[in-house]
Symmetry: D2
Subunit: 493 residues, 4 copies
């Protein structure tokens, strides 16, 4: 069995967005709001701020605190309205700063700033169309397409142009837009990921990717922006309008499983509670052998599921893996010997806990499987007798095209192998996943839409929104496992 272990990829969310309207220190509110969204992107950050006279922008590489390491840069962003962005990936060159968001454009008749979370599946086609019509793109980012659509639109008013433009865009997107007149938040026709409105005690309005940022700035939840809608926030209050009627709720299951912070609510469901419920359901569906001594979770994202599993099964929950909280980016490579001996900058096994024990190891997901394989080896080196792996989500078998950085089938272990083969590859004593139905049930969403309003494309290959420019690519690359699943076969039996 061959599997390229070189590329250690982890799931990455495509960014977080935040906006504030009518706060005398909009820059600071944006800073602390984005800080709470930092888990959605660590590669870059930016804040646009201004007032009715104009907007200013500051962007940079790295964590928010690195971008604004000189307080003067934040102070200089004066004004009462602001949007901000944290970005998940970079290509390393500081000159590509113009790929960082928010984008800010000054026209003779208006200023437009925008920040985007998601992935536009027909961006390449739209860009080519626009370029043929004379458009000059500044960045290599898909997100920029919106501003060109708006400026090329034949509609009359700005909001008609905006609606016209949003209707042309396919895929997953939350757009936060700032002009001198209003703060705008727009959600794609499937509402793949949350965009919520909050309100501070002083009357300022907040837009945020996750509710955790509301708590941090002391704002109260007002409402979600629903699929196919956009909100105009200005001194007259909130005005929410549909730009399309062709909507179908399909909230990204990944947000519950892995991405969102446990203290956020998505569609009014708490993320930690959903994860714990998935852990409980997993214990019911896939119990562990009687020989097992303890439940261990992979820190930090799997701890909710692991305690759920432990409580449901009655097996003690132990800290068998420790995460080094000081995992910084470093260019220092370990020696070959250190690598072979299992140098662990990020995770360590607790010998005193696992030695001689049989373990249920709960993780929230498997992407490439590389990390899990190493963890199992690490636990065995620390003396674990048995390692039974339980995953609190179904196998990830299809790539995501709506904004999660998991777009190649060749990177997905479960797109290439059956569970049985994966178990052999990982070296675990057993390997089990939560069922798709158990996932939907545990999360507890209940929309009048397929799968109760959950996007489960990663498990089944059913894509709720058009794949646009990716469609042909996907079809050409289908793995045998994927083909069999699309034919309705149960590949794991």
């Amino acid at each position: 069995m061959e599997w390229d272990e070189k590329t250690v990829r982890t799931l990455n969310e495509e960014c977080g967005v935040f906006g504030v309207w009518n706060h005398p220190q909009a820059n600071r509110v944006a800073f602390f709001g984005l800080h709470a969204l930092q888990h959605r992107g660590q590669a870059g950050a930016g804040i646009t701020c201004g007032d009715k006279n104009g907007l200013r922008n500051f962007r940079g590489i790295g964590l928010l605190s690195q971008v604004f390491d000189n307080p003067i840069d934040l102070e200089s962003l004066e004004g009462d309205r602001s949007i901000g962005h944290v970005r998940y990936a970079t290509n390393g060159s500081h000159d590509n700063l113009n790929n960082f968001q928010p984008f800010l454009f000054h026209f003779y008749d208006q200023d437009i700033a925008l920040a985007h979370n998601g992935n536009i599946t027909n961006a390449k086609s739209l860009r080519k169309e626009l370029e043929v019509a004379g458009a000059v793109f500044n960045s290599s980012s898909d997100s920029e397409v919106l501003v060109h659509l708006i400026r090329h639109s034949k509609e009359k008013s700005f909001y008609e142009k905006l609606e016209d433009s949003l209707r042309k865009i396919q895929g997953g997107f939350n757009y936060v837009v700032l002009t001198k007149e209003a703060l705008i938040g727009a959600v794609d026709p499937n509402s793949f990921r949350p965009l919520v409105i909050g309100k501070m005690k002083n009357g300022a309005y907040i837009l945020t990717s996750e509710t955790c940022a509301l708590h941090v700035v002391g704002a109260e939840f007002v409402q979600n922006i629903h699929a196919g809608h956009y909100a105009i926030i200005n001194d007259d209050g909130i005005d929410i309008r549909p730009y399309t009627n062709e909507t179908m709720v399909a909230i990204e299951a990944m947000e519950y499983i892995y991405f969102a912070r446990p203290d956020s609510d998505i569609a009014s469901i708490n993320v930690h509670s959903a994860r714990k419920a998935m852990g409980r359901q997993l214990a019911i569906e896939k119990p562990s052998p009687a020989s097992v001594d303890m439940v261990i979770g992979v820190p930090n994202s799997s701890l909710s599921a692991a305690t759920g599993y432990a409580e449901q099964s009655g097996i003690p929950y132990e800290m068998g893996l420790v995460k080094n909280q000081y995992v910084a980016r470093t260019f220092i490579e370990p020696t070959q010997e250190l690598r072979e001996q299992g140098v662990r900058k990020k995770l360590s096994a607790v010998v005193g806990v696992v030695e001689g024990k049989s373990i249920v190891l709960v993780d929230d997901s498997i992407v490439r499987g590389t990390t899990m394989k190493r963890l199992i080896l690490l636990l065995r080196e620390a003396g674990a007798r048995e390692v039974h792996v339980r995953i609190s989500s179904p196998p990830f078998r299809f790539p995501n095209y709506y904004g999660i950085d998991m777009s190649t089938s060749s990177e997905l272990l479960a797109a290439n192998f059956t569970i049985k083969e994966m178990c052999t590859y990982l070296g675990s004593d057993s390997l089990e996943f939560l069922s798709v139905d158990g996932t939907i049930k545990s999360i507890g969403v209940n929309f009048d839409a397929p799968h109760k309003g959950l996007c489960i494309s990663a498990f089944t290959g059913e894509y709720p929104a058009p794949l646009g420019d990716y469609k042909t690519g996907l079809e050409l690359q289908l793995t045998d496992i994927q083909k069999r699943i699309l034919r309705g076969e149960n590949v794991d039996e």
Copy 2:
């Protein structure tokens, strides 16, 4: 009841030390070893490396990954022997780089590098004596005193001079010393904190403050260096010698309670297991009211104790507080309004979990109480009905003089108030602490020494080592609570 809330202090460990002998890439081994000790100090770091021909040094401000952000700086530290240090505090000026360790001194007849973890109680007196004899100190650090003592010693050989010098030093210290001839590790007469020897498969030797660093570099535990001993490691192997017979084991209880990483073993006892046992014992000694719905731990250090408490009591363990993993240093201050509304960059309450619930909140310790007070308020704002606080250690009533940054009585809540008063101040529905005996029993050390070899001075004011220059200060500043405890009274009844 008045209490200065301005200074938010947390417990800080005085540094971590690491050494390696006879590895072709000693610099990298030191880097990854120190990385595992980063929790012991984040203010600065340094590595000395070399071979029989000489030693070179590189030090800097911040986390290890920041100090060595340019890989060339690490590469330039060639050689097969190395020591390193992570430092807990700084005064902010880059010019005080010479307070960072390791210190490296070049003499006409030898090179000496040293790194120190601990606090020397008679440093001021020794320094004055040495200065009167002509010594010129380079740093304001107490640690430097050792090299002056060695160079002023009238003994003949280097090791006799070293022993002579170590005998003059009082307090708590682990010294790691590197010369062109040997790697040396020395432990104070009470072995307040661990210094252990490990061995890599290729034969290289390791010295480290905690065993977690052994796992990271793939080394196996060989032995602890005991109280009043020092180890000479060179190509002949390990030679451990006593430099004094006046020893008394008194392992710092704080290491088990708070400081050490849970995957480390101290005196062959796993730290996570000790903490979980303290949580269990706390549940036995101080059970919670029947009304309670859930156990919540303060992330991350209290999670072991909280799960112990939950398992012993049978109350479900929930994630009611979430720690933002991206807590970076920032100079951006929240607005007054954000501050008042409880902006939480570091910790957030999970509304969906705690709303309407009665909670047992388990923390490992209370120092000033400021953080705990805010957490309780945070939980109440998130809708918690009751908050019962259980602390898995006894009240910290006396300052520490042996290397923990907790040296002023005025900073210790429990040095100034009874438990009942503290409960009022914190705003908790109840407040209980683990007993001293329960602490000793749960940790499980068993030396033939007072308190089975544990230093419990923070709880009782019994100091196992001379207080030296601090003695008078302490006596002048004794609080009423402290005086009553020293008179043998039970202040909490």
Copy 3:
């Protein structure tokens, strides 16, 4: 007499451009070529490099050596063709990096990079027209207008589009453009400033603002690109084409007087020699009193003229002023007292030379006069008996709109005062300027064009190219002196 002394402005050139075609290390050739042009702009720099497969860009703030302080950034610019730019001014925010050149645009059908030296007088109008047609500008720089014109052009081929676009642009411009197919250099219809082609021994072609950069990279001068022409350089060699017939040579006199490096040739006339001739002519036109002991030049740009003056007049040339070669940007302000006492970070008077002496002080030009006023005071404080000022160019009485940062009449001393008034303001014992005719004669250009092909608009207000968007502004702001000059009066008699 009032004169705002706060703003100390000096003449600044609008940038330097450089290009190389067909050199295996085009990035390094561009680096060293730009280094020789650094005097044309110190605020920012950038290099685009690539091959037939695509182009990459790197830009940054500060001197070239600061932008490329990490050699990796230059190394990463692989390829055999390159263009580069040094920029004269910045607004200080690192986020405005997208105002730095070269600009690089990736289209579905081509890559275009461009760098610009000059000023487009109808840029604002063109930009508005383009924005109305849907264009989204990335920068606030006028230079970007070219790429939008090209992409919006209705012509067929790229070169037809380019010609079409160049014909729409008014003002002064040298454009260096790089595509995957060719290196292109275009010169405005007046050839206000030089753009020359050179050739290296290995066959590589060079484009550069000044010939001094040819010497530095070991290239030989091939030819100038003439007014209204553009050169296409590719593997077939050089192809120079006119894009307009409406041309009139008007080489910027400022290039000879002040901007260009003395070792450059412009229109085959050496700059140092032209300056020395101006100094000689000045000595003939405006001799100094018999009482004078020595000639002193203002370092460094006036030394050529000063030695010419000295040799012609027979008066000894002395070093009465010294320039500190370490004049770096600093944010440290002198104390009020130091300021008043004449703190001179940049220039110092040599007491031992000037004390008790009568001096002719030769400078190449007067803009605001602020520096000259301070120099005279400095010389008097150092003991100079008399200071007779001789300027080796005519008074600057009109702003420049073609690329020199001298665009406001209110900044020009001679636009507001007569020579006699200026002499009083400066505090000199006498003040004389070179005549316009003497300037033309000394430089020695000899084109079949007004003023023998020299642009003398700064002295006379005759603007050879349309003023476009600036026209109304200028007319509204004419000073009395300017009005009188435009009426043909001699204001200085």
Copy 4:
């Protein structure tokens, strides 16, 4: 004839020192004073500042403006007394910051800061003696020896200890010392280089290596500190005392020839004037052939001598070489081809001036000859017909041990070859040097001491101060040329 051309060395001065007493903004006065001394050292800089309560220090790598690029660092140095230092060389590692000066030491009974300019010839011996007595050196710098001598001295008062210590030090040194009580300046028994006292209008006192720094801060010259003396400056005024009677004035000729700024006076003789006089004398001693068209100086240090030569000979002075004023440190290496073609980042020949001409090229000195060889080649490539080299100082035939970085005979061209051989090596049409007597006469010093008080050891090998630890080394390494000179032979005939 073999000559290692790899190492391009230039003469470097060993640092500049500055001090100020009793100024409310001593930090800024020190900053601007040191700025005027920047030519004496560009590798590092530092300032100590304080008041009667204590002293603080800030040091860093690079130019003064780089060290203090954040104004806060200078602002933090509060107080009314200050010393500062600019340093000539570094080994590149930021960790060796403790080799940068001023050194600041805090003792239980006093603070001592010191900065040093010069070289101590018996430093190694003194350091060993001190280390044997227990001293621990912080730096690898010789300068540190003074503080150890003071603290080990058996004398009673601080000033007696200081005098005692100064008497033990051999070689060349200017020490500037700051305590909480006084500002002190000490000069070696030969006064190899200047240390002068100035006074500001507000009564503040200044100590400086060169008088040019007095002008910059608006101070007036008060007096020189003479050989074997030290000055105590405090609120009582200036108190100058001798610490030895064994003195002999021997002012370093290099200061006049090359190092000092032309606007400084040394021993009341202006440096520019001395250089111009050397140029005139050179024209008398070593006239040029009748065929010569022009005199060219090597910018910038040789321009004074070159104009002197031109005026005396009546040959026109031209700008045949141009110095790029933006010569920054860069790690970008030219390609081999660019190197071979004579890439000149620093100096360029002006083709339009030198083509077809016969030239006298005047330089102030020849050390290795590498630069001169390249300049001659550069001029020939630019079309020069003949290049006659005239050096306005005698051949440098012996190394310097008193503070000039020219300490190895193998680096001195004239220590290895006769003038005739050098001419062949350099490729010049003729080569002539100023005589030793002509040098002494032109400079015009007139002390009652050998060579009228000038140190001419570089030309004759007569060393006025003990060579200490260098003595044996020198004797072992004498070249044939040096041996012949010491035997009294005329090697050039």
